[in-house]
């Protein structure tokens, strides 16, 4: 099963490589990993999407918690949560494809943010599945480039992942 793990991590130079190293050393999957600063300059927020059976995910969480740089960890998949990922996608848009792609953008509530006579850059935000759906909806052969941020997420409700 797919899990979204959200972590507060010490803003230390080695933290990212410790986490990445843990996954490669122990053979765990990383689907995506995003890191960025938070409102507290001493902490980074990391969102990691992984998959595995319950035992493996349990081990992953224990191993992450064991890292000295990991301050707090939550498995967003344990409860109601919101997941968002951003995608920038460059598509070939000439002739009849132009209209078709524009319509598609509207259906997905995406935005065209750059235009040439032969291309669009489309920006789309949503759960990772929605981004997947957009990619498969683009007609064969029109995709030039796909840039995805990796998933981030936050739990619903009034509680926050804080110290």
């Amino acid at each position: 099963m797919r899990h979204i793990l959200s972590m507060l991590v010490e803003n230390e130079s080695g933290a990212l490589s410790r986490i990445a190293g843990l996954f490669s050393a122990r053979g765990y999957n990383i689907e995506s990993l995003t890191v960025a600063p938070t409102n507290d300059p001493s902490l980074s927020r990391m969102t990691l999407v992984t998959s595995g059976n319950d035992d493996i995910v349990e081990q992953i969480k224990k191993q992450l918690n064991k890292l000295i740089d990991v301050v707090k960890l939550a498995d967003l998949s344990d409860g109601e949560h919101i997941e968002r990922e951003m995608m920038l996608i460059k598509v070939r848009a000439a002739g009849p494809d132009r209209e078709e792609l524009k319509r598609l953008t509207e259906i997905f509530r995406a935005k065209i943010i750059d235009v040439t006579d032969a291309s669009y850059v489309v920006e789309l935000t949503g759960a990772s599945k929605k981004l997947d759906a957009f990619i498969s909806a683009v007609p064969e052969g029109l995709i030039t480039e796909v840039v995805r941020s990796g998933a981030t997420g936050i739990a619903r409700g009034d509680k926050g992942l804080t110290l």
């Binding site: 010490e10 130079s13 080695g14 490589s17 410790r18 190293g21 050393a25 035992d55 349990e58 081990q59 224990k62 191993q63 918690n65 064991k66 000295i68 740089d69 990991v70 301050v71 707090k72 110290l163």
Partner: protein
């Protein structure tokens, strides 16, 4: 001269360090910026002062460019902290490790950048696999040139990351003292382990002085090792133990590391259950006690492995279900309700699913178990236990460790038994890796913890001799021996020079079978006796070799001469004696569970017929 154990201090929060002794000697006192009278010290001086404030007795090290400032600071404090100059950085790490295993204190190493650090990696990984508290200070090239492939630059933090509990690169001299304090705290608390502190040369610049104030209170917000087990879980475990019909204790290195021997022994005796131990846990429960049924696992006894296979209640204390213990997981303890006590939550249900997990320091959990057991006034089912013991004794009666005592060649087992007799069981025994290690574990019954010192997790050949140096330094008056093989001993043989320099009267008991015996055994069993490169051709004359290092070398070739030779060796109280024991080159270690086989599928000595097993 024994320092109070830092570990105990690390368990109270906030952490208390030793009060900083006024930085004596080389540096003058001056007022710090805040008006408090903190000494002004350079990074090099801070490094040494911090070690002194930690109560460190010995630093095992080897100098080089990146640590020269630190060595200079050390030079001026030699009366307060003793530096042991090894002959290879691997030796430094194993010596610090042996010291830590024998004393329970933190081992400390100091090595230079680049090759100094890479040479230390094997010893760091060895300590990591066996959860040994150690702080390794590595020099690094100056911060401005880090990343430029400078002379003797290596990414030490990167290389050691997967084999340390934690590591630090110090980038600001003002944070050096605090970083060293953190390193000691992390290394010794929770599940212990090695911590590397990488110190660039400019950070130790003698001309840059900063206020030194060794932090007494320390909190690491992201690190909170368990201090007590959950009482509800402990009660559940005690209830399961009392209700069990075929219980067995299975203890590991955690019981030794947490100094849980006393409450463990009390609990096991109170319940009357059989107890087995991993290679790492030997001595936590007295091995000569009738309730002890031998080591378990790949070379464990028949009775221990069969008891594991048939038990209905397995009580795992500070053990981690290593593959050398479990064999094939599907066949592991198929009938058991499993209780698992460990300070590291990630050890629990890692390979084997457990039913009653208890996260906490094993000493405190076992003590709580005793309290609850006494409070309950419950007694185990005496009738069931008697029947279970009858079964265990039947397994025991086949004497799976039998060997040919009439052999004209010295059997390695006989050599270990003789060692036991000659030393009256009162010995610190370090080991290298191979058959000799297994024979020692099987035939030398340790009645105390911290006496059997070997590399279990990593299986590092070359560990034994330097580890024995650390032990002998910690206990100058104790009998210390290193059991080794002719292949293993050569991996750190240079340390004989260190032993000479510091007059360490270690006894090296070399079980010389002319082969990498353990490799030869696997080749005999699993590769139709094709002995690919397991024959150690061109061996040195070990007697002459010991002699050339200034030690006493002796050789013994006949079983009849063994006891006298060992007596003679141990009688030389102030000399290192290297005893080259020429043993049967073809002996194998039995019982043996082949890798990937079940616990109950043991190879027994060939002298035993199938009938005896029925």
């Amino acid at each position: 001269m024994q320092q109070p154990r830092l570990k105990a201090q690390a368990e109270v929060s906030p952490v208390q360090a030793h009060p900083p002794t006024a930085a004596a000697g080389a540096t003058e006192q001056s007022a710090g910026p805040s008006g408090s009278s903190a000494a002004l010290l350079s990074g090099a001086e801070i490094t040494i002062q911090a070690l002194i404030d930690e109560g460190v007795e010995f630093v095992f090290g080897y100098p080089g460019g990146a640590v020269l400032h630190i060595y200079d600071a050390l030079f001026r404090r030699q009366d307060e902290i003793k530096h042991i100059l090894v002959r290879h950085e691997q030796g430094a790490t194993h010596a610090a490790d042996g010291y830590a295993r024998a004393t329970g204190k933190c081992g400390v190493c100091l090595v230079t950048s680049g090759p100094g650090a890479t040479n230390a990696v094997t010893g760091i990984a060895t300590a990591y696999m066996d959860s040994i508290p150690m702080v390794v200070i590595t020099g690094q090239v100056p911060t401005p040139v880090i990343g430029s492939d400078a002379f003797q630059e290596v990414d030490t933090v990167g290389i050691t990351r997967p084999c340390v509990k934690h590591n630090f690169l110090v980038k600001d001299v003002n944070r050096l003292a605090e970083t060293i304090r953190k390193a000691f705290f992390i290394a010794q608390s929770g599940r212990p382990g090695p911590v590397v502190v990488d110190v660039p040369k400019d950070i130790t610049d003698p001309s840059i002085k900063v206020p030194y104030d060794y932090p007494r209170d320390l909190r690491i917000r992201s690190y909170n090792p368990a201090r007590r087990g959950h009482l509800g879980q402990i009660r559940k475990a005690v209830e399961a133990m009392v209700a069990a019909k075929r219980p067995v204790f299975y203890t590991g290195g955690g019981a030794v590391l947490d100094d849980a021997a006393a409450p463990l022994t009390e609990l096991v005796r109170a319940l009357g259950f059989p107890i087995t131990s991993t290679l790492m846990g030997l001595g936590a429960y007295p091995m000569t006690d009738p309730q002890f049924i031998g080591m378990l696992g790949m070379h464990g006894t028949y009775e221990a492995n069969m008891a594991m296979h048939e038990t209905d209640c397995l009580i795992a204390i500070g053990a981690r279900f290593d593959d050398r213990v479990t064999g094939k997981i599907e066949h592991f303890c198929p009938h058991a309700e499993i209780i698992h006590v460990d300070v590291d939550p990630s050890s629990i249900s890692k390979t084997v699913k457990v039913h009653i997990p208890i996260v906490g320091p094993v000493g405190s959990v076992v003590t709580d178990m005793l309290g609850i057991l006494r409070g309950m006034g419950g007694r185990p089912d005496a009738e069931a236990l008697a029947a279970w013991w009858a079964q265990v004794d039947a397994w025991r009666s086949i004497q799976c460790l039998r060997y040919d005592r009439e052999s004209a060649l010295i059997k390695p087992q006989l050599a270990v038994e003789t060692l036991y007799q000659v030393t009256n069981g009162d010995l610190y025994l370090t080991s290298d890796v191979g058959q000799h290690q297994m024979f020692a574990a099987q035939f030398y019954p340790f009645d105390k913890p911290r006496r059997w010192i070997n590399s279990g997790g990593l299986g590092t050949m070359g560990f034994g001799l330097p580890a024995a140096m650390g032990v002998q330094l910690a206990f100058p008056d104790a009998q210390v021996a290193c059991i080794s093989g002719e292949a293993s001993i050569l991996m750190c043989i240079q340390e004989l020079a260190t032993c000479k320099q510091y007059d360490l009267p270690i006894k090296v008991i070399l079980l010389n079978n002319g082969y990498m015996g353990m490799v030869r055994q696997w080749q005999e069993f699993f590769y139709e006796s094709r002995y690919a490169h397991s024959y150690v051709d061109a061996l040195p004359d070990f007697v002459a070799l010991a002699d050339s290092f200034g030690h006493v070398g002796m050789r013994v070739e006949r079983p009849g001469d063994l006891e006298a030779a060992m007596q003679e060796a141990f009688a030389m109280k102030d000399r290192l004696v290297f005893l080259d024991v020429v043993v049967d080159p073809t002996e194998n270690v039995y019982p043996m569970i082949a890798a990937g086989k079940g616990q109950h599928e043991m190879h027994l000595p060939p002298t035993m017929s199938e009938r005896e097993l029925a």
